[in-house]
Amino acid sequence: MSDWHTHVFTSTYAADVSGVCSVLYELGGMTVLHDPSGCNSTYTTHDEPRWYDTKSLMFVTGLDEMAAVMGDDSIVIKDVVKAAADLKPCFITLCGASIPHIIGFDYRGVARIIEEKTKIPVLPVSTDGLKSYISGVGLASREWICRFADTEISIRAHSLNLLGVTPIDFTDQAHVEELKKSVTPEGYTVNACFAMGDSFEKEIGIYAGAVNVVPTSAGRIPARFMQSTRNIPYVEGVPIGSYMSEKIQKAIQNSEVDGKNRKAYDKLDMDGNVLVIGEEIYACSMATAVNHTAYAEKNNLKATPFWPDVNEGLNEDELIQRINSAKIVIGDPLFHSIIHNKFTYMVDLPHEGYSGRIYHKNVPFFASSNFDIEERLRERK
């Protein structure tokens, strides 16, 4: 019987707590991870390429057995208040892993107490350490926007926001600049990129954006929230190559006119012979980009996306079966270990959310109109 829990050979995706820390990293706050230990060093080592060169504030509470059993929240409150008094962050975020989850830690209540004591806004983000970063980025983004964004601001025509953007999916700022260029139609401007490269003050004006672009499923929660609060439509897609870039730009223009949400990638069949493994919107966009290459048409290639579930990750049995029945696999190099036949060819496209920092330097600017997946496909022997 197939069991999603067991992974004999393969890795795991970045967790929700890493997502929270990552998306709020550049906004001048202090993120507090309520956890015994370990999640913080995992995040700072594997999921946060900015850690060494910047001084953003992210700490772990060091929850211990006694505090957990007794439900003694006074320790975390005291510790956060003390650190905040010294470091003076402009806001505080409180998230946590599995133990606070099972002992029913009251994130909202504790956040409120800390806020009363420090007079600093505190965002409760009730992560549980059981889900992927997609959940953490989304929940933290929504909480931040809900708390700080100016909902009275006028919408600026022909402007867009990017949501859910973190190094976990887009590696570094240079890549994000390519992403911005490649999604922006002529005559449009980027209002805000949540949250890489923009200041706290700039993000406050996020509601001025006429359309939200969601280049990763990590941006879905804030996109849906912003639609529900101010009816801002969103477009899903990653501008992988010129075809996807044009599709997204067109979709943005149309969504601004009719206010409807759009998916810029195709509706894809699940029986293709090219398997694209990765985050959902990326995988769908990449598969669409592949299917619209002359090379795919000539060689009878059809791409199919395969993405991890937010709760369960990738089912390893299904992953192995799909990889080994594909002609080409586009995915993280760590998947090499489960290719068991000679006819499956791997196109390496590292994903920080899967292999962490291991291939950090090898991640290409895939979110770019200049990215040519066809060239990669041609490289196969």
Partner: protein, 431 residues
């Protein structure tokens, strides 16, 4: 708030509750995955939520050792349905079935959540032992929530040797327990035991599982590191092996006393007084030479480099070196050492390495700083540093001589600190 306190203002009963903890980018200290890979033929299985798994899996991937580790993810369904035991058992069975080679030993790491859900993991292990009698199952723990009682590294060091069973003891065979680096080059004790025909069994040198298990036949266990004390005590009780703790300080007399104690137990000649004096003189000469080279350059050291940083600071200060600061987690030395050091240099800076305010520390330094250890190097932003962890196999007079060489080299030649300190598991290779 200052990141440091002067030692004259610090109490020996150091407050371990530092508040929010900061994770510096220094990654040289081994974690449980690194330690687990030292047992030849052992497969590790981690049973934890995603957030905990990520670190251990990527540690393994960075070592190119993904064939040595598998995982069982704890999900919301386990919490709601209370089926943690079934998931654990079935997951382990699946892993054994799918692995290309049958492991000789499996270490199953459960996590914090198992304690809080009262999972009966020992019952699962009993069942597994019956179903797979050819495999040694070891219960291991990645449960930092229990760190006040059973810190993770001491606990794992003890558990690794749990596969050893009561057996006949050989008078001329001894174990080094909890050593991860070979001591063959820089330890007086190792050289002396080898010279006298003693068979030293050291996991750091083991490449064969069955040979490793022969450690149960040793008559004596020697531990060098405090984290190995759990294991030393456990083996003493379970296997009735004599246990001797060696002090990892920098006191010439204590070196001789410890080694004599071991020699007496093994009924072999002790190192002669003449030879000891010769080695002490060599240490003194080496320190004088080092002092001539590095002069009054400020020295900073940390608890990851050596077992007893206060003792090292005291030793260096006594030899006129300019020790400026120490980075620690907690004091591990006896109170006398602390008091002696405080009397010797009251303005010595003590940093609590993982404290939250270390994140905001100004790491700039106007003059050159010589650091001993990765954390001291990082916090002083210096490329002149001794890149070692856990004493790196150094012990005794030979250890001091080698440390002098390392300090001299660090002073004269810069290293790529930023790159080196971020690499996980200093000199760890999976067996």
């Amino acid at each position: 708030m200052n990141e440091y306190q002067l030692i004259k203002d610090v109490n020996y009963e150091y407050d371990a509750d530092i508040g929010l903890a900061y994770s510096s980018p220094c990654r040289g200290i081994w974690n449980i995955v690194h330690i687990g890979t030292q047992v030849p033929g052992c497969h590790q299985i981690y049973v934890c939520p995603t957030s905990c798994l990520r670190g251990v899996v990527l540690t393994t991937a960075e070592m190119h050792a993904m064939d040595r580790l598998s995982t069982i993810t704890v999900g919301e369904d386990n919490i709601l349905e209370g089926n943690m035991e079934e998931t654990l058992h079935d997951g382990v069975a699946t892993i054994i079935k799918k692995l290309p080679e049958r492991p000789k030993m499996i270490m199953i790491f459960i996590s914090c959540i198992h304690h809080f859900l009262a999972a009966n993991y020992q019952r699962v292990y009993r069942i597994l032992r019956k179903e797979y009698p050819d495999i040694d199952f070891v219960d291991a723990y990645m449960d930092p929530i229990m760190r006040r009682k059973t810190p993770v590294v001491p606990s794992l060091t003890r558990q690794i040797y749990r596969v050893l069973q009561p057996a006949n003891h050989f008078a001329k065979q001894v174990n080094y327990i909890g050593n991860w680096f070979s001591t063959e080059d820089y330890s007086d004790l190792t050289k002396h035991l080898q010279t006298n025909g003693i068979d030293i069994r050291d996991l750091s040198l083991e490449t064969d599982y069955n040979h490793f298990k022969q450690m149960q036949n040793s008559s004596l266990n020697i531990t060098f590191h405090k984290y190995a004390s759990f294991a030393g005590k456990d083996l003493e009780i379970r296997l009735r092996q004599k246990w001797i703790k060696v002090h990892m300080g920098f006191d010439y007399t204590v070196f001789a006393e410890d080694m004599n104690h071991i020699c007496e137990f093994l009924k072999i000649p002790t190192i002669s007084q003449k030879e000891i004096e010769k080695r002490i003189n060599a240490c003194e000469s080496s320190l004088k030479e080092l002092k001539k080279i590095i002069g009054n350059v400020p020295i900073s050291l940390d608890y990851t480099a050596v077992d007893e940083p206060l003792n090292l600071a005291y030793y260096l200060l006594k030899h006129d070196f300019n020790v400026e600061s120490i980075f620690i987690e907690v004091f591990t030395e006896e109170e006398k050492v602390f008091n002696d050091l405080r009397a010797l240099k009251p303005d010595l800076k003590i940093y609590s390495t993982d404290n939250w305010n270390m994140r905001a520390m100004n790491r700039e330094h106007e003059e050159k700083v010589l650091a001993i250890g990765q954390k001291a190097a990082y916090y002083n932003d210096t490329n002149n540093f001794v890149d070692i962890i856990w004493s790196a196999g150094m012990y005794g007079y030979l250890g001091i001589l080698h440390l002098c060489d390392l300090m001299k080299d660090a002073y004269l030649h810069e290293k790529d600190m930023k790159n080196l300190v971020q690499q996980k598991g200093w000199r760890c290779y999976a067996k």
